[in-house]
């Protein structure tokens, strides 16, 4: 029977959604698995998060200390290596923290590692079989790993249904004393909050959002014209910000803004999970992309296979005529 340990990320004591998704993921590995939550932090925030998890996990390990007040993966990894048993199946989130933590943890535990897992087929003997995506979500792959001596996997936040009921009646076990030496060669300094731009895309009911399909900086104007005609605001995907064609505050995605419009016009956007992760509230999504295989068509409500550079001006004209 697999011994599964789920790392619970939290902000000031409030567990992130992935905490509840681990339970579904763990059951897919082994419905009878013993699943232990691990919470790290300091002071009241740690106790709050650990306490909340007892409703969902039979055992909740808390690891506390001043060094753990901010989730510095380099410090947390050291604690985990000292506390996890050798055959642990460790689950973390595939987010900016998990990407920092998991690869090195797998080396230190000498366990195989599979990241960004979107589905789990199950465990056959000691072979764990999972599903992950490649090439920006254009294809999926089945991946196996030999988990005889444990494994480190990170699951994509939102990929698994969250557990609903919380009546595990679990207990908190304090293992702070076993964390060992937590000095690290990387020291956390501060978090710089994102700058607020001239336009607040989170306030708009309709977004005309552009991606790589816009091709040239000059073409942003075409999107602006359409947005104007529709009474919308222009937002964008990451590559447009990387190219400095629009300011960072217009970026939709996990590393940008989270938006909740009524209508989302995805223009030349392929639809990576990082991008879609920034769209909440189930808007009506219109996708226009010249690649009929773009992943965006799997999540959009309406799809149109056209070149946005020709389509957007025509749509803008027709909307103006209304």
């Amino acid at each position: 029977m697999a011994r599964i340990f789920a790392y619970i990320p939290h902000k000031e004591g409030a567990a992130e959604d992935v905490a509840y998704e681990y339970i579904t993921a763990a059951a897919k590995i082994d419905p009878n698995a013993q699943v232990t939550a691990i919470v790290t932090g300091h002071g009241d925030a740690l106790d709050k998060a650990a306490g909340e998890m007892t409703a969902y996990f039979k055992e909740v390990i808390k690891i506390g200390g001043e060094e753990l007040a901010y989730p510095n993966a380099e410090v947390i990894r050291k604690a985990l290596v000292n506390i996890l048993p050798a055959d642990a199946v460790f689950m973390g989130p595939h987010n900016t923290f998990g990407m920092d933590l998991a690869p090195g943890l797998s080396v230190k535990l000498d366990s195989p590692s599979v990241s960004d897992v979107v589905d789990i087929e199950g465990m056959d003997g000691s072979t764990l079989k999972v599903v992950r995506e490649v090439l920006g979500g254009q294809f999926s792959t089945h991946v196996t790993c030999d988990a005889a001596n444990g494994a480190v996997i990170t699951i994509r936040p939102g990929a698994f249904e969250p557990a609903e009921s919380g009546s595990a009646g679990g207990e908190v076990v304090d293992k702070s004393g076993d964390a060992g030496d937590l000095t690290a060669k990387r020291r956390f300094l501060e978090v710089l909050e994102a700058e607020i731009g001239e336009v607040d895309i989170t306030k708009s009911d309709v977004l005309v959002s552009v991606g790589r399909g816009i091709e040239e900086e000059e073409n942003i104007e075409i999107a602006q014209e359409l947005a104007e005609a529709m009474g919308a605001v222009v937002s964008c995907s990451r590559p447009i910000v990387d190219a400095h064609w629009l300011e960072k505050s217009r970026q939709v995605g996990t590393s940008g803004q989270t938006v909740k419009p009524k209508v989302y016009m995805a223009m030349g956007i392929s639809g990576s999970f990082q991008h879609m992760g920034g769209i909440k509230g189930k808007p009506f999504i219109v996708a226009v992309n010249k690649n009929p295989k773009a992943p965006i068509f799997q999540v959009a409500d309406v799809g149109i296979v056209e070149d946005i550079l020709e389509f957007m001006p025509e749509l803008a004209e027709k909307v103006k005529e209304l």
Binding site: N72, A73, E74, T96, M99, D100, P103, G104, S106, V107, K108, P112, S113, S115, D116, R132, L135, Q138, F139, S140, T141, H142, V143, T144, A184, K185, R186, R187, F188, E190, V191, A194, V206, R212, M230, A232, R238, H244, K248, S249, Q251, S255, G256, S270, I285, V286, A287, N291, F297, Q298, A300, V302, G303, I304, V305, E306, E314, L315, K318, V319
Partner: protein
């Protein structure tokens, strides 16, 4: 400062329309256009900019076959001083852990102050940098979007975290950083630049050159195996609007009206 940048030759997602092969278990790899992994290109640019400021050398390294030489040459045309190709039949079928182990051997054959990788590549794994750091017992930071070289063998590095925020860290050298896109604006490489480095010798190192046990990497040494490629079935997907552009726009406008998309 001696900087090593680990790069990878990948199918270009902007240039290809991917299809599965006739067996449906792999990509149809005939006629695929390959290029350097986008994240790696930002890493090389960053390395060149650091060396321009504080002096030193940039070496680019890749694990691959003969064809991977072209991406090394491209990055040398950008301004990297040296290229190294790590190539051996025994490396084929390597998982991220094996790739990191191969790179580790190369890192240890030099004296590098800073090692960079792209934050992720075509597999979206985002693992090699963190594994390499742990193997070398060096500090690591992922998704780095700002680097400032400080006195006393330290750097200040910004990491991109959720919500567009930036997490600032002080890190001791030597260290490993995985680089996020947008950290800089990678310079353009023209045909002339490529020609300049066309004749530069790029050393190739095999498993034995690197002192790597053949069974410890590649297909045999890898515990993580990819079985297939398939197109995910995510339910119905979008309702595709078809017809002439005028007809499509007419249908779309009706839908937008009912969903509150037109004011």
């Amino acid at each position: 400062m001696e900087i090593l940048v680990c790069v990878k030759r990948v199918p270009d997602t902007a240039e290809n329309e991917f299809e599965l092969n006739s067996e449906g278990n792999d990509l149809d790899r005939d006629d695929l256009v390959y290029s350097v992994n986008e994240w790696d290109n930002y890493a090389v640019e960053e390395a060149i900019q650091i060396v321009d400021k504080v002096g030193g050398n940039v070496t680019v390294v890749t694990v691959g076959d003969d064809e991977s030489e072209e991406v090394l040459r491209r990055e040398m045309a950008m301004g990297a001083n040296n290229g190294v190709l790590l190539s051996d039949d025994a490396f084929e079928g390597s998982d991220c852990r094996s790739i990191a182990a191969i790179l580790k051997a190369e890192v240890e054959s030099g004296a590098y102050d800073l090692i960079m990788t792209g934050a992720q590549a075509d597999d979206g794994a985002a693992e090699v940098g963190g594994m390499l750091a742990a193997m070398l017992d060096m500090p690591y930071a992922s998704l780095v979007n700002e680097i400032e070289i400080r006195d006393g063998g330290k750097i200040k590095a910004g990491r991109e975290i959720e919500g567009g925020n930036q997490e600032m860290n002080e890190i001791e050298l030597p260290c490993v950083l995985s680089i996020q896109t947008g950290i800089n604006e990678p310079r353009y490489v023209g045909i002339r630049g490529i020609r300049k480095v066309a004749k530069v010798e790029i050393p190739t190192k095999s498993a034995s050159d690197l002192g790597i046990e053949e069974n410890s990497v590649g297909e045999k040494g890898s515990k993580v195996k990819r079985l297939d490629y398939f197109v995910p079935d995510l339910g119905e997907g979008a309702e595709m609007l078809e017809g002439s552009t005028d007809e499509i726009i007419e249908k779309l406008i009706e839908k937008l009206k009912s969903k509150g998309g037109l004011g």
